[in-house]
């Protein structure tokens, strides 16, 4: 049971060890540093959670849709739009003097709604016009990124900070009022591990998804529809509604990830081209979901591991360790994990071509 992932891991270490040796690095000490920076060092776990939380959201978003064979590649755009709508809610309700819980709840709702609405665009196109959702959702990622840039760089929008010297030097968003900032729980261990509120929401979302997909009629229908749309129709399932619902759920989770970016980590709507947009959480989330075989709890675990890998990458790189090499190592590890997974799923057999054609009964 452990054999395949273990073998993948061994393979990954071996392959990246070769790369490391070829580039003149000590493989063992590099691995040590990697693990240390990801999980062991003081504060490392907290920093890993910073990377893991958004990946958990986008991973869950991808898993929710991919399970039904709805290939929502738009987690990235849905996260950005969720961040935009949640920031609006945070600025509006956080500044109104009401209780913090109310502002946070408003951000959660707004983030989910924003992401869901953005995902419903490809959803509607797919359900009613049979448009390929891979292409439409992917294209909308670019639209969302341009929208974000536009709101802060090219207009005097609600989100944009317009007063003060700093705002004149470089366009930025308004800072969220303190009552709209999401609190975190600190575990006093190894220099303090901050558990962001968003991480809690991600766990909750995973649990809800799990129940939804394995315990409800909705999940039953999604499963049949994902496996065979004809069988679903045969059984009298409402396929269009289901497509819309699944896209909305997927988008809502990604949008919640955007809200968490605002509330947990950035404390503003980050429109900096070198900021949120450069992290590509939406795309990494697809890898996370694939590695986790679309199982919600496995997504959480994989997000944690991949988050650790990303976090440790920042430590590993340096003057003598180019960031490109870090990327190569991360790539090899992910590739091996996926490769091992594929090997298990589609057993590759090499055999001689049979002399006669495979037997098949006559079907006229």
């Amino acid at each position: 049971m452990v054999a395949v992932p273990a073998a993948s891991l061994v393979f990954a270490f071996f392959a990246s060890g070769l790369v490391l040796l070829a580039t003149g690095h000590n493989a063992l000490s590099s691995y040590r540093r990697l693990f240390d920076a990801a999980f062991v060092a003081n504060g490392a776990l907290g920093q890993t959670l910073v990377s893991a939380t958004p990946l958990a959201f986008t991973g869950l978003a991808a898993a929710a849709a991919f399970r039904m064979r709805l290939f929502n590649i738009g987690g990235e755009g849905q996260l950005l739009v969720g961040a935009i709508t949640a920031a609006a809610a945070g600025l509006y309700f956080g500044g109104s003097g009401g209780p913090s819980a109310f502002a946070i709840a408003a951000m959660v709702v707004a983030g989910c709604a924003g992401g869901a609405a953005w995902a419903l665009i490809p959803g509607i196109l797919r359900a009613f016009f049979r448009t390929n959702e891979i292409i439409t959702s992917l294209m909308l990622n670019y639209v969302a990124a341009y929208l974000l840039t536009y709101l802060i760089f090219n207009t005097q929008s609600y989100w944009r900070q317009t007063t003060g010297f700093n705002a004149a030097v470089f366009p930025t968003s308004k800072d969220l009022p303190s009552s709209a900032l999401w609190p975190g729980a600190t575990i006093h261990l190894r220099g303090g591990i901050l558990l962001p509120l968003g991480a809690g929401f991600a766990v909750l979302a995973a649990a809800v998804l799990w129940v939804l997909y394995s315990r409800t009629r909705f999940g039953f229908e999604a499963q049949v529809l994902g496996d065979s749309p004809r069988a679903a129709r045969y059984a009298g399932m409402r396929t269009r509604r289901k497509i819309l619902a699944v896209m909305a759920i997927s988008g809502a989770i990604a949008g919640l990830g955007g809200a968490s970016q605002d509330g947990d980590f950035r404390h503003t709507l980050d429109a900096d081209p070198n900021g949120l947009q450069r992290q590509y959480y939406g795309y990494s989330g697809i890898v996370v979901a694939a590695l986790a075989r679309y199982n919600p709890f496995a997504v959480l675990l994989v997000a944690f591991l991949v988050g650790g890998l990303q976090n440790a990458g920042n430590t590993l790189q340096g003057a003598d360790f180019p960031s490109g090499l870090v990327g190569v190592i991360q790539g090899i590890i992910l590739f091996s994990a996926l490769g091992g997974e594929l090997l298990v799923r589609y057993r590759i057999r090499i055999s001689r071509r049979p002399a006669a054609a495979p037997p098949a009964p006559e079907a006229a």
Binding site: A232, Y234, G236, A357, P361, A363
Partner: protein, 502 residues
């Protein structure tokens, strides 16, 4: 071809078939579906290897280990489903099949190829622009491209597998002329069909296959549609024990002037009226592709009728809504078991609950009651003797017969009023066929109105109380089991008394 035998697991598709076609003739290969026509032609084109027997081409024994060898021997087949690259031009498609001359060269000389294609087209009346893209062509034109491919390769023996299935009557007439032209040119044309009037119209001689045997070779001029029908369906069928007399009750399924469109547009079902009473089995006989599947789907709500009314137990469920049909009491055993009737990767238990998951006891509110679903699955697996590793196994792991049992178990357990069973025994072995038959009997005995769609006259005569024959979307005849004659049904199925043709 001498003594050709080909066995597949559980089936002998060809059993000692002798078949000879002469130079310059159009030779028809006639038989019902499953009679062994396709297997025979696949052997002739090198796709399959015969288990026994030998093939002689121009009196020389040959052995084909790949389709290429058959091509080299001058044998070419035009398949029912075209093998064309849609984005390529006609000329490109033609040269694609050529592995000997121009097709092997690195640079293709399209001019020359196009000229040759145009010449061939003119000579045989296969008018098609060599530069047109295949996707722009009509189905008839695409078929011409297939024939041109064969002519371009200089095929001496040309096999056409049910070429008229996709053609309009006018296009078919043109095709027949082309075929005669080619025969007159000294080529051999083997024409596979199950339509009697076509065979009469185009062939010189007819070889009839039945159950894997070549039963006779006759001259087309001397044969009548009736005599061919008798040869095709055989004697002595339906002479088993007559079904027990049942007392039919109320009409549970009433079709009034129902029409429906096919998948590619065009009318597939034309004004069908039919009634099925509680406790009776009505068979809808006919060769596949004459609108039976579309009719069944219309009853099951999977296809919206373009005209007419479907009544189930006196009510009219919303047309084109499978859920409404299910609620009204329609059970449906689709032809396509794995894919429509069952979701392949989903567990057996879930597949058994595919139609009952919405209501108690399988679910309560939005939640599923997984234990109930599982218990029910275990119970049905036992009762229907489904050989399965367990209720959690994906259904695709089951064999064909067990798949059908899963479908039947689910459909019967829904306590339907009407059961539509489309080719429920196709591809099953003898044991499985028997159990399916007994389940259908049980259902009728329990007061369900059964509409059985089948091509198998044997099956129809064992099971049905009444028989309706469908041809080209219409019910062309209806008769009680007691009055049915095999010859008459066979003739109707093959369009033998089609007024438009005679």
């Amino acid at each position: 071809m001498r003594g050709i035998t080909k066995r597949f697991p559980g089936v002998v598709a060809n059993d000692g078939v002798d078949f000879a076609a002469a130079t310059g003739e159009v030779h028809a290969l006639l038989g019902e579906n499953g009679a062994g026509k396709s297997t025979l032609s696949n052997i002739l084109t090198g796709l399959y290897r015969p288990d026994e027997g030998e093939i002689l081409v121009y009196c020389r024994p040959v052995e084909f280990s790949a389709p290429r060898d058959a091509l080299d021997a001058g044998i070419c087949m035009v398949h029912q489903h075209f093998r064309l690259v849609e984005r390529f031009t006609v000329a490109e498609n033609v040269v694609l099949g050529d592995h000997r001359r121009e097709g092997r060269t690195f640079r293709l000389r399209y001019r020359t190829i196009e000229r040759r294609v145009a010449e061939l087209g003119e000579r045989y009346g296969l008018a098609v622009d060599p530069r047109a893209r295949v996707w722009q062509l009509s189905v008839g034109e695409q078929q011409r491209v297939e024939i041109l491919k064969a002519l371009y390769l200089d095929a001496r023996i040309l096999i056409l597998d049910e070429p008229t299935a996709v053609l309009t009557p006018q296009e078919a007439q043109v095709l027949f002329e082309t075929l005669r032209e080619m025969a007159a040119d000294g080529r051999t044309v083997i024409f596979i069909s199950h339509k009697l009037h076509e065979v009469k119209a185009v062939a010189d001689r007819v070889t009839v296959l039945r159950g894997g045997h070549a039963v006779a070779t006759v001259s087309a001029a001397e044969a009548t549609p009736r005599s061919l029908a008798v040869l095709m369906v055989g004697h002595g069928l339906g002479e088993g024990a007559p079904p027990k007399a049942r007392a039919p009750g109320e009409v549970v399924l009433g079709l009034e002037d129902v029409s429906a469109a096919g998948d590619r547009g065009g009318a597939a079902v034309r004004g069908v009226s039919l009634a099925v009473r509680a406790g009776e089995i009505v068979a809808l006989a006919g060769v596949a592709g004459n609108g039976q599947r579309e009719l069944a789907e219309t009853v099951a709500g999977m296809r919206a009728p373009t005209g007419g009314v479907v009544r189930v137990a006196g009510k009219t469920p919303r047309p084109g809504d499978p859920r409404a049909a299910i609620r009204a009491g329609v059970a449906y055993v689709p032809e396509d078991r794995l894919g429509t009737g069952l979701a392949p990767s989903v567990s057996i238990a879930s597949n058994l609950a595919l139609k009952s998951y919405r209501e108690a006891p399988a679910s309560s509110g939005p939640l599923l009651r997984l234990r109930r679903i599982r218990e029910r699955a275990v119970e049905l697996i036992q009762r229907y003797r489904i050989a399965a590793p367990g209720p959690a196994a994906p259904v695709r792991l089951l064999s064909g017969g067990n798949l059908q049992k899963v479908v039947l178990a689910r459909e019967f357990s829904g306590q339907p009023k009407v059961l539509v069973a489309a080719s429920p025994t196709r591809g099953l072995d003898v044991g499985a066929i028997e159990s399916v038959h007994s389940y259908l009997h049980e259902a009728a005995a329990a007061g369900v109105g059964v509409l059985l769609i089948s091509e198998d006259l044997d099956e129809i005569l064992t099971l049905a109380d009444r028989i309706a024959v469908m041809y080209e979307g219409e019910v062309v005849g209806e008769t009680a089991r007691a009055d049915a004659s095999v010859e008459e049904i066979g003739l109707l199925m093959a369009g033998g008394n089609d007024p438009r043709r005679d």
